[in-house]
């Protein structure tokens, strides 16, 4: 069951990410990114992170991606055109990413004996346990993030405002 869910949603993640890479129109890329983020929420549930799965759906595939699609529609972004710079990027980008992937996969495979196997529901962090740490031990960082969000709102309004 766990293996089947992992394979289905892992494949969905990789397919969505590849679609983001291959699509030419930004709105298609945005929609495939929503697929990636929603399937990641299921993987978080399999890893026993129930609060983060809900937050992933609400914050990432809800709020952030709605912002992205709004901006794409607002700016009327069309298909991207190929330029001389994009040929250079193809030459550097694909081999660079392949080397990075080979490196990371090599590290993870050589150390794979040290990792556990996940049994679904074996270790689930409840929202109560998470909020206990967040509001008791890490109260100051949590409050600082609220100031960060406030500054981000003010900055976004100031930057996006029309100049007179």
């Amino acid at each position: 069951m766990h293996l089947a869910l992992f394979l289905i949603f892992g494949a969905l993640c990789v397919a969505g990410a590849l679609n983001l890479l291959l699509q030419r129109h930004p709105i298609n890329s945005a929609l495939s990114l929503i697929v990636v983020m929603s399937s990641l929420a299921v993987l978080y549930l399999l890893l026993g992170a129930e609060f983060l799965a809900a937050a992933q759906v609400i914050v990432y595939s809800g709020a952030i991606m709605v912002l992205f699609t709004f901006v794409i529609m607002l700016l009327n972004a069309g298909r991207e055109e190929r330029t001389r710079g994009s040929k250079m990027a193809y030459v550097i980008g694909f081999p660079g990413a392949a080397v990075l992937l080979a490196l990371l996969a090599d590290i993870f495979i050589t150390h794979s004996g040290e990792f556990h196997r996940v049994h679904a529901g074996e270790y689930v962090v409840s929202t109560a346990a998470l909020s206990g740490v967040l509001f008791r031990d890490l109260l100051l960082p949590f409050e600082v993030t609220s100031i960060l969000i406030l500054i981000a709102i003010l900055g976004a309004v100031a930057l996006a405002r029309k100049e007179h």
């Binding site: 293996l3 990636v36 983060l52 700016l75 992937l101 990371l104 976004a156």
Partner: protein, 100 residues
């Protein structure tokens, strides 16, 4: 039963696709979206290691990454709107005022 290393390899695949998209995409909004993809891949690693060591702090990290990503998306998209107003293009090759 799935080994944690499979989750880590999946996140490595997602991160590498994000890096490739960051290099190859020419639209500034899609470049920004590939940064979000990389952040998500790293979040999956954090949750995987939280499961590995049975620690809550990995998940706390993901929470803070989400908060910072939300703030970053709001400010970044506002900057993109401002750039589009000034240059009326979204192509990163044409936004090269600071190039020598």
């Amino acid at each position: 039963m799935v080994p944690i290393s499979w989750y880590l390899i999946l996140s490595a695949v997602l991160f590498s696709i994000g890096v490739a998209a960051f290099f190859i995409k020419r639209n500034i909004i899609t470049v920004f979206m590939s940064i979000e993809l990389m952040l998500n891949a790293v979040n999956l690693t954090f949750v995987g290691f939280a499961q590995q060591w049975h620690e809550v702090s990995g998940q706390i990290f993901v929470f803070f990454v989400m908060v910072v990503a939300a703030a970053e998306a709001a400010v970044g998209l506002a900057i993109i709107i401002a750039v589009f107003r000034a240059r009326s293009t979204l192509n990163v090759d044409q936004i090269d005022l600071m190039k020598l």
